[in-house]
């Protein structure tokens, strides 16, 4: 009430007062209605009985299974064969060969630094005892990326050639990106079987959009001049495409490959839920064993792997920097340390080494080129030159092939390398487990967690839960439709109505309200914690840098890594589910708060300061309002992530739609699982659209964007 009286004293915005009063009134009516009802609000039985979505899906599924399963089976079999082949190769080959296959490309593309990093990653996989699992993940990811790149580039090129096709693809790509992967992960299971094949196909759905988009824009952005000069030389349309447009858009395509790799990695880990093997499965086992250390080891394997692939693919899309001639090139230390004498001395042997390696590689390659040319020249003189030329250009490829060949030769004739040596073991499990154990028995810490648990449950979750489930469904629906109408428009209001009607008619209204309340509480907590952290980061650069590293790591770790510590400290249950959601979905809000505040151009705050505004005043009156769009985007992303997490939280006692998905799966009731999965997507879409539209309005009001 105090906020509304404060608003009343401001005479200049009567419209705002009316709308605030209306919101308050709506809320009070809802509160009254919710106290009136006896139990949770239910959709009319007539509707839920008539709308047998679950049964229809199950019928449809069995029809498809009966009649079309052979097609999907064939596809799945091809993919499975490919995956088994790769996996066998990885697991049965001598470990040094596999290590060399990973390290050499890194060394060639990213130089000594990346090469050494790759060595460390490989060592880590083996040392924590996840050699096989890591390689399985790599195989799964590698195959998915290969297929994604192939189909993605093809589709991207098609999009760039035809506007009509581009317009057709756009909504499909949007849907592919918004839909939480879990929703199609399970149906994929029923058509493509268990393990590698459905995992790879689901990964393709999830990870393909960026490469299609980037290929398309890359080709469309090729400069007019280059196209004109090519056409003036008389190239045909196909020549133009393959000789000019695609090579020129290669950096953009490589950027897409990079994103595909990162997204594929994120999903491949999740695929353990449909029986795919790899690190994801290990992390899940670790959770079930309450072994934080084990889960962290798995998480770090993924994290390091992700960084390695990220840097490797970035090294391709980046142009090598050229240094002035008088500057010594640094191979290991940062180039900026060039001014220090010590650093130059340390680097000296490295540059010598690099010089000699280069020399040896060129010599060997030239020698082989010469031999080949000689052999070919016996048959045909003119092509011999070409062959020689071709080979002598492969400075790095040929020596690497020789190394790999040598390794397999030694392995098969002299000495078997076998699998990764057990003696090189490194275990983080015990120290981490001890740390967690000491916290679990620490009385004041447990008192704190108990207090927090009580607060979150009694003060936030329970009231909101009862409130949302007890408001009559038609009232909640009406509110959503009205909000949709005012923020987006009539059409969206209508769509919102239909979507909510679907949720209600499927008979999952109560569960979806439970999910909504969990998400809202999680997001509120994210806000309460994330915004202050973001503000501190916007003022202190060092803090920001540290925070960025932590947030990067948090976002790359597989998202059920967080479940265990939460479980240990808070026990199972709905509160733990909320806290795990908070940990997972807080990064965007922190990032975008600090981004929004730092981006507010200096001049605004200077003007405010020159008028005598204090730090707090500047923050509250100038910076915050201007940073609102950025904040809302953060809010938006946090909400989407919180929704995505709802599918995992049933593992530690979460309730609502996520649990429905699990129940559907456990009872082999696809319709039930699918309805709940779609429910999550629909709620996420509604909130996403509303908050995006609201941002757009804010930006317009602030004059930050044109349309």
């Amino acid at each position: 009430m105090s906020s509304s009286t404060e608003l009343l004293t401001k005479p200049n915005n009567p419209k705002k007062v009316v709308s605030y009063a209306l919101i308050l009134l709506t809320f009070l009516v809802a509160l009254w209605l919710s106290t009136q009802s006896e139990g949770p609000s239910k959709f009319p039985k007539v509707v839920t009985d008539e709308f047998k979505f679950t049964a229809w899906v199950n019928d449809g599924e069995s029809y498809l299974k009966k009649n079309y399963r052979w097609i999907t089976k064939i596809i799945a079999n091809y993919i499975k064969e490919g995956y088994f082949f790769l996996e066998d190769f990885f697991l049965d080959s001598p470990w040094i060969l596999i290590a060399a296959i990973m390290i050499l490309p890194c060394l060639i593309a990213g130089g000594l630094r990346l090469g050494l990093y790759a060595c460390f990653v490989i060592y880590f996989w083996g040392a924590v005892g996840m050699w096989d699992e890591s390689l399985q993940t790599v195989a799964l990811m590698g195959l998915s990326v290969l297929l994604c790149v192939f189909f993605g580039v093809t589709l991207g090129v098609l999009c760039s050639q035809s506007d009509r096709f581009e317009n057709f693809m756009k909504p499909i790509l949007d849907t592919m990106q918004v839909m939480p992967a879990f929703v199609y992960l399970f149906p994929a299971l029923f058509f493509f079987g268990i393990g590698g094949a459905p995992a790879i196909l689901a990964t393709m759905i999830y990870a393909m959009p960026p490469i299609i988009r980037l290929t398309n824009t890359g080709i469309r952005q090729v400069s007019k001049e280059s196209i004109e000069s090519a056409t003036s030389f008389g190239s045909s349309k196909l020549q133009l495409l393959f000789k000019i447009k695609i090579p020129l858009s290669l950096p953009s395509i490589m950027m897409g490959v990079n994103q595909v790799i990162m997204m594929a990695l994120a999903l491949v880990v999740l695929a353990c839920f449909i029986g795919a093997e790899g690190i994801g499965g290990q992390v899940w086992l670790a959770i079930r064993n309450l072994d934080v250390g084990w889960a962290m080891e798995g998480g770090l394997c993924i994290l390091f792997m992700a960084i390695m692939f990220d840097r490797f693919s970035l090294a391709f899309s980046k142009e090598p920097e050229t240094l002035p001639l008088d500057v010594q090139k640094f191979y290991l230390l940062p180039q900026s340390w060039e001014k220090y004498q010590v650093a130059r001395i340390i680097e000296k042997p490295l540059s010598l080494l690099s010089y000699f390696t280069d020399l040896i590689c060129t010599k060997i390659t030239n020698l082989i080129a010469y031999i080949f040319a000689l052999v070919v020249s016996l048959i045909n003189k003119s092509s011999a030159l070409d062959v020689g030329d071709f080979i002598s250009k492969k400075y790095y490829l040929i020596p690497s092939l020789i190394i790999l060949f040598l390794i397999s030769f030694i392995d098969s004739t002299f000495f078997e390398f076998g699998t990764f040596p057990k003696e090189w073991k490194l275990s983080l499990r015990q120290p981490i487990a001890n740390g967690v154990e000491s916290l679990t028995v620490n009385e004041s810490f447990i008192a704190f967690t108990k207090g927090l648990r009580g607060f979150v449950y009694l003060k936030l979750l329970k009231p909101l839960d009862t409130f949302l489930t007890h408001i009559p469904w038609w009232y909640t629906m009406g509110i959503f439709v009205v909000i949709g109408y005012f923020t987006v428009g009539l059409r969206f209001a209508f769509i919102t109505f239909l979507l909510l009607l679907f949720i209600g008619a499927c008979g999952i209204w109560t569960q979806s309200m439970v999910t909504l309340s969990s998400v809202l509480v999680s997001v509120a907590l994210c806000f309460a914690l994330g915004v202050p952290l973001g503000i501190i980061a916007s003022y202190n650069e060092r803090f920001r840098n540290i925070q960025n590293v932590v947030l990067d790591a948090m976002q790359t770790l597989p998202y059920f890594c967080y479940l265990i510590p939460v479980l240990m400290f808070f026990g199972g249950g709905i509160v733990s589910a909320v806290l795990a959601t908070v940990v997972y979905s807080i990064p965007p809000i922190i990032r975008l708060t600090s981004l929004g505040l730092t981006q507010v151009s200096g001049s605004y705050s200077e003007v405010s300061r020159s008028f005598g505004g204090t730090l707090m005043q500047t923050l509250k009156k100038v910076k915050f309002p201007l940073a609102v769009p950025s904040l809302v985007i953060g809010f938006n992303q946090t909400v989407i992530m919180a929704f995505a997490m709802q599918i995992v939280t049933p593992l530690i006692g979460g309730k609502g739609l996520g649990l429905e998905v699990f129940n559907g799966l456990a009872r082999s009731d696809t319709g039930r699982g699918l309805a709940a999965g779609i429910g999550i997507v629909l709620l996420a879409i509604i909130i996403d659209r509303i908050s995006l539209a609201w941002t757009r309005k804010q930006r317009l009001a602030l004059g930050l964007s044109k349309n």
Binding site: F84, Y395, L659
Partner: protein, 337 residues
């Protein structure tokens, strides 16, 4: 030059990956579902180790949530076999199996289903489930059986359950424990909280035990928890089936009051391995089928390994391997000649 360098690295990474050097033994490949509780995991690992090391199989281990979904996946041939199914928990067994369950030559169960699942044989482990409370709570509160629970329900209440007591219930929906139904039928004023995974339920129980709080926990034997903490069962009424058995998914879970399941405790569970009939009918898998018929893994052995794995935090595969090396007399008879 730079472009060549890049392309060469790309080609190198892809060509080599695809240029395999291996020979796969496709014929002797089986896919196994790893059970989602530790005891089941151990039984499974024992079977897998034997098949791999003694019969030359290559087994793919798949993590898959238990429940009807798993049974259907096996019937469809996605997974070849799964281990340690507990008959009282499986809803699908009576529909999908068509064989007698035989334990040490004695028929302990009969199935008249459609035969889409092959009963491979008993594991040897016999399971028992009950609701348990810690001994300190049983003694200080004087709880002797489940009938005393209502008197002390406020001691078992938590912030989540309000005035009712709390049962840390059977965690996984697919296990079909019907805890809330049982509590209601027996008139125990407790709320059954499903926590989603065994880990979540046990984490809660461990924390409560350390704080010496009373708690009621659904659990089964053999379980490592009993090795570490002193628990007593509340002795639910002895297992009895409704006649006719209407309490099924097909019968819309129509209960018959306090006359039978689920108003009683669980039956003694002669755990079994089960698989895809087509897979095990193949001549190349005859040895594997015979192995499953012979397998007889004992509760005591599983209990020892449970302690090793759960309390000493050791690697499951290592523990099983060690047991195998130390006790050849126990498993030699399972291996078909």
């Amino acid at each position: 030059m730079k472009l060549t360098k890049r392309i060469s690295a790309l080609i190198l990474s892809f060509v080599l990956i695809l240029g395999g050097l291996t020979q796969a033994n496709a014929a002797k490949r089986l896919t196994a579902a790893v059970a989602d509780w530790t005891g089941g995991e151990i039984s499974c690992q024992v079977a897998v180790t034997m098949l791999e090391e003694e019969l030359g199989y290559k087994i793919k281990r798949v993590v898959f949530p238990s429940g009807t979904g798993l049974w259907e996946a096996i019937a469809a041939g996605e997974i070849d076999f799964a281990c340690e199914s507990w008959p009282s928990y499986a809803e699908a067994d009576s529909v999908m199996m068509n064989e007698d369950l035989i334990y040490e030559g004695e028929v302990v169960g009969t199935y008249n289903g459609d035969g889409s699942i092959d009963l491979l044989g008993t594991v040897g482990v016999i399971g028992m489930s009950d609701y348990y409370i810690p001994r300190y709570a049983a003694e200080s509160l004087g709880i002797k059986s489940w009938k005393d629970l209502n008197k002390h329900k406020d001691k078992f209440a938590t912030i989540e359950t309000g005035s009712k007591g709390r049962l840390i219930a059977c965690p996984v929906a697919g296990w079909n424990c019907h805890d809330q139904k049982r509590l209601d039928l027996l008139g125990i004023d407790f709320q059954a909280d499903e926590l989603g995974t065994e880990a979540a339920a046990v984490a809660e129980a461990v924390a409560a035990y350390k704080r010496k709080e009373p708690f009621l926990l659904y659990l089964w034997e053999p379980h490592w928890f009993f090795g570490a903490y002193d628990m007593v069962g509340v002795g639910l009424p002895e297992h009895k089936v409704c006649d006719p058995d209407t309490f099924t998914e097909a019968g819309n879970w129509k209960d018959c009051g306090t006359k039978g399941w689920p108003a009683t405790g669980w039956a003694k569970d002669y755990t079994m391995n089960y698989g895809n009939p087509a897979t095990f009918a193949k001549p190349e898998h005859a040895k594997a089928k015979e192995f499953f018929e012979l397998m007889s893994f004992q509760n005591a052995d599983q209990a020892v390994m449970l302690v090793e794995v759960k309390q000493k935090n050791r690697d499951l595969k290592e523990v099983v391997k060690e047991w195998k090396d130390a006790n050849p007399d126990k498993w030699k008879s399972w291996i078909p000649k």
